[in-house]
Protein backbone atom coordinates (compact mmCIF):
# COMPACT_ATOMS: atom_id res chain seq x y z
CA UNK A 1 0.00 0.00 0.00
CA UNK A 2 1.31 3.43 -0.92
CA UNK A 3 1.61 5.60 2.13
CA UNK A 4 2.26 9.19 1.05
CA UNK A 5 2.54 10.31 4.67
CA UNK A 6 6.00 8.69 4.78
CA UNK A 7 7.41 11.32 2.34
CA UNK A 8 9.92 13.59 4.07
CA UNK A 9 10.50 11.23 6.99
CA UNK A 10 14.15 10.76 7.89
CA UNK A 11 16.11 8.17 9.79
CA UNK A 12 18.79 9.00 12.34
CA UNK A 13 22.11 10.20 10.86
CA UNK A 14 24.74 7.44 10.71
CA UNK A 15 28.55 7.54 10.54
CA UNK A 16 30.47 5.63 7.90
CA UNK A 17 34.25 5.34 8.04
CA UNK A 18 35.88 4.77 4.63
CA UNK A 19 38.30 1.94 5.23
CA UNK A 20 40.99 0.85 2.75
CA UNK A 21 40.52 -2.87 3.31
CA UNK A 22 36.82 -2.50 2.49
CA UNK A 23 37.61 -0.48 -0.65
CA UNK A 24 40.01 -3.19 -1.84
CA UNK A 25 37.52 -5.95 -1.07
CA UNK A 26 34.76 -4.07 -2.91
CA UNK A 27 36.95 -3.37 -5.96
CA UNK A 28 37.79 -7.09 -6.15
CA UNK A 29 34.12 -8.03 -5.84
CA UNK A 30 33.23 -5.90 -8.89
CA UNK A 31 36.26 -7.28 -10.77
CA UNK A 32 38.04 -3.94 -10.94
CA UNK A 33 41.83 -4.28 -10.56
CA UNK A 34 42.45 -0.56 -11.14
CA UNK A 35 45.75 0.21 -9.31
CA UNK A 36 44.31 3.45 -7.91
CA UNK A 37 42.38 1.34 -5.40
CA UNK A 38 45.41 -0.78 -4.48
CA UNK A 39 48.49 1.48 -4.69
CA UNK A 40 48.32 4.34 -2.13
CA UNK A 41 51.34 6.20 -3.55
CA UNK A 42 49.96 6.21 -7.07
CA UNK A 43 46.51 7.21 -5.79
CA UNK A 44 47.91 10.10 -3.73
CA UNK A 45 49.98 11.33 -6.66
CA UNK A 46 47.14 11.18 -9.16
CA UNK A 47 44.09 11.99 -7.05
CA UNK A 48 45.26 13.21 -3.63
CA UNK A 49 44.02 10.08 -1.86
CA UNK A 50 42.75 6.54 -2.37
CA UNK A 51 39.42 6.82 -4.19
CA UNK A 52 36.34 4.63 -3.78
CA UNK A 53 34.51 2.70 -6.51
CA UNK A 54 31.45 4.43 -7.98
CA UNK A 55 28.95 2.17 -6.19
CA UNK A 56 30.97 1.87 -2.95
CA UNK A 57 28.38 3.80 -0.91
CA UNK A 58 26.32 0.60 -1.02
CA UNK A 59 28.61 -0.57 1.80
CA UNK A 60 26.77 1.84 4.10
CA UNK A 61 24.81 -1.35 4.88
CA UNK A 62 27.60 -2.10 7.37
CA UNK A 63 27.11 1.21 9.17
CA UNK A 64 23.35 1.48 9.36
CA UNK A 65 20.73 -0.16 11.54
CA UNK A 66 16.95 0.04 11.71
CA UNK A 67 17.15 3.52 13.30
CA UNK A 68 19.03 4.90 10.24
CA UNK A 69 16.11 4.02 7.99
CA UNK A 70 13.10 6.33 7.76
CA UNK A 71 10.93 3.19 7.72
CA UNK A 72 9.33 1.54 4.74
CA UNK A 73 5.88 3.12 4.97
CA UNK A 74 4.16 -0.23 5.50
CA UNK A 75 6.07 -2.00 2.71
CA UNK A 76 6.01 -5.79 2.71
CA UNK A 77 9.72 -6.64 2.62
CA UNK A 78 8.98 -10.12 1.20
CA UNK A 79 7.73 -8.54 -2.03
CA UNK A 80 10.46 -5.93 -2.48
CA UNK A 81 12.64 -5.53 -5.54
CA UNK A 82 15.48 -3.07 -6.03
CA UNK A 83 14.26 -1.19 -9.09
CA UNK A 84 16.75 1.57 -9.59
CA UNK A 85 19.83 3.12 -8.01
CA UNK A 86 21.54 6.44 -8.63
CA UNK A 87 24.60 8.19 -7.20
CA UNK A 88 25.46 11.86 -7.63
CA UNK A 89 28.90 13.05 -6.56
CA UNK A 90 29.79 16.62 -5.59
CA UNK A 91 33.24 16.20 -3.99
CA UNK A 92 35.74 13.33 -3.96
CA UNK A 93 35.45 10.62 -1.31
CA UNK A 94 38.76 9.19 -0.06
CA UNK A 95 39.91 6.37 2.20
CA UNK A 96 40.22 7.83 5.71
CA UNK A 97 37.10 10.00 5.37
CA UNK A 98 34.33 9.74 7.90
CA UNK A 99 31.01 10.32 6.22
CA UNK A 100 27.70 11.14 7.84
CA UNK A 101 24.65 9.77 6.02
CA UNK A 102 21.07 10.88 6.42
CA UNK A 103 18.32 8.93 4.69
CA UNK A 104 14.89 10.32 3.89
CA UNK A 105 11.84 9.13 2.00
CA UNK A 106 11.84 11.23 -1.18
CA UNK A 107 8.63 9.86 -2.72
CA UNK A 108 6.05 7.09 -2.63
CA UNK A 109 4.26 6.31 -5.92
CA UNK A 110 1.78 3.75 -7.24
CA UNK A 111 2.12 2.21 -10.70
CA UNK A 112 0.58 -0.53 -12.77
CA UNK A 113 3.27 -3.19 -13.12
CA UNK A 114 3.84 -6.07 -15.51
CA UNK A 115 4.67 -9.43 -13.99
CA UNK A 116 3.70 -8.64 -10.41
CA UNK A 117 0.43 -6.62 -10.71
CA UNK A 118 0.11 -3.24 -9.02
CA UNK A 119 3.41 -1.82 -7.78
CA UNK A 120 4.29 0.70 -5.11
CA UNK A 121 7.56 2.60 -5.55
CA UNK A 122 9.50 3.89 -2.55
CA UNK A 123 12.24 6.38 -3.40
CA UNK A 124 14.77 7.09 -0.66
CA UNK A 125 17.66 9.55 -0.74
CA UNK A 126 20.74 9.35 1.45
CA UNK A 127 22.83 12.50 1.60
CA UNK A 128 26.47 12.05 2.57
CA UNK A 129 28.59 14.76 4.22
CA UNK A 130 32.30 14.38 4.94
CA UNK A 131 34.24 15.27 8.12
CA UNK A 132 34.77 18.82 6.78
CA UNK A 133 31.01 19.32 6.52
CA UNK A 134 31.07 19.18 2.69
CA UNK A 135 28.19 17.47 0.89
CA UNK A 136 29.97 14.74 -1.10
CA UNK A 137 27.21 12.56 -2.55
CA UNK A 138 23.57 11.62 -2.75
CA UNK A 139 22.50 7.99 -3.17
CA UNK A 140 18.97 7.61 -4.52
CA UNK A 141 17.31 4.22 -4.32
CA UNK A 142 14.01 3.02 -5.77
CA UNK A 143 12.44 0.00 -4.10
CA UNK A 144 9.43 -1.67 -5.69
CA UNK A 145 6.78 -3.53 -3.74
CA UNK A 146 5.01 -5.85 -6.16
CA UNK A 147 1.34 -6.76 -5.89
CA UNK A 148 2.30 -10.42 -5.58
CA UNK A 149 5.57 -12.36 -5.32
CA UNK A 150 7.49 -12.08 -8.58
CA UNK A 151 8.24 -15.43 -10.20
CA UNK A 152 11.31 -15.99 -12.31
Amino acid sequence: MADKSAVGKTGKPFKMHVDWSKVREFARAIKDPNPLYFDPELARKELGGIPVPVTFLQTSAFWTDETSSPGFGGFDLRRILHGEQEFEFFKPIFVGDTLTGLTKVADVLEKEGGRGGKMTLLITETEYTNQKGEKVAIARSTLIETGQAVKA
Binding site: E25, A29, K31, L47, Q58, Q85, F87
Partner: protein, 139 residues
Protein backbone atom coordinates in the same frame (compact mmCIF):
# COMPACT_ATOMS: atom_id res chain seq x y z
CA UNK B 1 43.54 9.34 -13.44
CA UNK B 2 43.88 11.21 -16.71
CA UNK B 3 40.65 12.79 -17.80
CA UNK B 4 39.20 12.34 -21.27
CA UNK B 5 39.85 15.27 -23.57
CA UNK B 6 36.50 16.99 -24.03
CA UNK B 7 37.34 18.25 -27.54
CA UNK B 8 38.22 14.80 -28.82
CA UNK B 9 34.92 13.20 -27.71
CA UNK B 10 31.98 13.04 -30.07
CA UNK B 11 28.35 12.35 -29.29
CA UNK B 12 27.84 8.72 -30.32
CA UNK B 13 31.30 7.58 -29.20
CA UNK B 14 31.12 4.10 -27.68
CA UNK B 15 32.44 3.11 -24.29
CA UNK B 16 34.85 0.18 -24.66
CA UNK B 17 32.95 -3.01 -23.90
CA UNK B 18 33.58 -5.20 -20.84
CA UNK B 19 32.55 -8.83 -21.17
CA UNK B 20 32.37 -11.23 -18.20
CA UNK B 21 32.25 -14.76 -19.57
CA UNK B 22 30.05 -16.45 -17.02
CA UNK B 23 29.27 -14.92 -13.64
CA UNK B 24 29.35 -17.41 -10.78
CA UNK B 25 27.76 -18.11 -7.40
CA UNK B 26 31.11 -17.32 -5.71
CA UNK B 27 30.98 -13.90 -7.45
CA UNK B 28 27.62 -13.25 -5.74
CA UNK B 29 28.91 -14.48 -2.37
CA UNK B 30 31.99 -12.26 -2.65
CA UNK B 31 29.80 -9.27 -3.52
CA UNK B 32 27.48 -10.04 -0.59
CA UNK B 33 30.45 -9.96 1.78
CA UNK B 34 31.98 -6.88 0.21
CA UNK B 35 28.77 -4.84 0.05
CA UNK B 36 26.86 -6.03 3.11
CA UNK B 37 23.86 -7.07 0.96
CA UNK B 38 22.92 -10.36 2.62
CA UNK B 39 19.56 -10.87 0.94
CA UNK B 40 19.50 -14.71 0.70
CA UNK B 41 18.08 -14.70 -2.86
CA UNK B 42 21.67 -14.31 -4.07
CA UNK B 43 23.41 -17.23 -2.32
CA UNK B 44 20.95 -19.51 -0.52
CA UNK B 45 19.66 -22.21 -2.88
CA UNK B 46 17.26 -23.68 -0.29
CA UNK B 47 15.72 -20.26 0.27
CA UNK B 48 15.22 -19.45 -3.44
CA UNK B 49 13.66 -22.85 -4.17
CA UNK B 50 11.16 -22.24 -1.37
CA UNK B 51 10.37 -18.93 -3.05
CA UNK B 52 9.73 -20.74 -6.35
CA UNK B 53 12.84 -19.43 -8.09
CA UNK B 54 15.08 -22.00 -9.86
CA UNK B 55 18.49 -20.75 -8.70
CA UNK B 56 20.18 -17.91 -6.90
CA UNK B 57 20.78 -14.85 -9.07
CA UNK B 58 23.10 -11.84 -9.03
CA UNK B 59 22.56 -8.82 -6.82
CA UNK B 60 21.54 -6.01 -9.14
CA UNK B 61 24.29 -3.92 -7.62
CA UNK B 62 26.90 -6.60 -8.38
CA UNK B 63 26.08 -6.24 -12.07
CA UNK B 64 25.94 -2.46 -11.64
CA UNK B 65 29.45 -2.66 -10.19
CA UNK B 66 30.71 -4.45 -13.29
CA UNK B 67 29.09 -1.71 -15.37
CA UNK B 68 30.65 1.03 -13.24
CA UNK B 69 34.10 -0.35 -14.10
CA UNK B 70 33.35 0.08 -17.81
CA UNK B 71 32.58 3.74 -17.04
CA UNK B 72 35.66 4.42 -14.87
CA UNK B 73 37.92 2.61 -17.36
CA UNK B 74 36.62 5.09 -19.95
CA UNK B 75 36.37 8.40 -18.04
CA UNK B 76 38.97 7.74 -15.32
CA UNK B 77 38.44 7.02 -11.61
CA UNK B 78 37.42 10.18 -9.75
CA UNK B 79 35.66 11.77 -12.70
CA UNK B 80 32.18 10.23 -12.43
CA UNK B 81 29.64 12.86 -11.34
CA UNK B 82 26.48 10.78 -11.71
CA UNK B 83 25.81 7.07 -12.24
CA UNK B 84 22.31 5.63 -12.51
CA UNK B 85 21.04 2.10 -13.12
CA UNK B 86 17.61 0.59 -13.65
CA UNK B 87 17.31 -3.17 -13.27
CA UNK B 88 15.57 -5.20 -15.98
CA UNK B 89 16.05 -8.95 -16.38
CA UNK B 90 17.91 -10.91 -13.71
CA UNK B 91 21.44 -12.24 -14.14
CA UNK B 92 21.83 -15.99 -13.47
CA UNK B 93 24.94 -18.08 -12.73
CA UNK B 94 26.73 -18.82 -16.00
CA UNK B 95 25.34 -15.77 -17.81
CA UNK B 96 27.74 -13.90 -20.07
CA UNK B 97 27.29 -10.21 -19.35
CA UNK B 98 28.42 -7.40 -21.60
CA UNK B 99 28.68 -3.85 -20.26
CA UNK B 100 28.79 -0.95 -22.68
CA UNK B 101 27.40 2.46 -23.43
CA UNK B 102 27.71 5.57 -25.53
CA UNK B 103 28.13 9.30 -25.20
CA UNK B 104 24.84 11.15 -25.70
CA UNK B 105 25.65 14.74 -24.76
CA UNK B 106 28.47 17.21 -24.09
CA UNK B 107 27.87 20.04 -21.66
CA UNK B 108 29.34 22.52 -19.19
CA UNK B 109 28.12 22.31 -15.61
CA UNK B 110 29.44 24.18 -12.59
CA UNK B 111 32.41 25.44 -14.64
CA UNK B 112 33.34 21.89 -15.60
CA UNK B 113 33.37 20.25 -19.04
CA UNK B 114 31.26 17.12 -18.83
CA UNK B 115 29.82 14.34 -20.93
CA UNK B 116 26.64 12.36 -20.46
CA UNK B 117 25.94 8.90 -21.76
CA UNK B 118 23.62 5.90 -21.81
CA UNK B 119 24.71 2.57 -20.39
CA UNK B 120 23.54 -1.00 -20.91
CA UNK B 121 24.31 -4.48 -19.61
CA UNK B 122 23.20 -7.31 -21.89
CA UNK B 123 23.09 -11.05 -21.26
CA UNK B 124 24.08 -13.69 -23.85
CA UNK B 125 20.54 -13.61 -25.30
CA UNK B 126 20.82 -9.87 -25.89
CA UNK B 127 18.32 -9.09 -23.13
CA UNK B 128 19.07 -5.98 -21.07
CA UNK B 129 19.88 -6.73 -17.42
CA UNK B 130 20.49 -3.04 -16.69
CA UNK B 131 19.81 0.20 -18.49
CA UNK B 132 21.61 3.16 -17.04
CA UNK B 133 23.20 6.54 -17.58
CA UNK B 134 26.17 8.57 -16.38
CA UNK B 135 27.69 12.04 -16.31
CA UNK B 136 31.44 12.56 -16.01
CA UNK B 137 34.02 15.32 -15.94
CA UNK B 138 36.48 15.80 -18.81
CA UNK B 139 39.58 17.89 -19.29
Amino acid sequence: MAKLKFDSIKVGDEIPKIEIRGVTRPDFVRYAGASGDFVPLHYDQTFVEMAGIPTVFAQGMFTAGLLSKAVTDYVGVGNVRRFQVRFATRVWPGDVVTCTGKVTNKLEKGGEKQIEGDLIVLNQKGEPAIRGSFRAACA
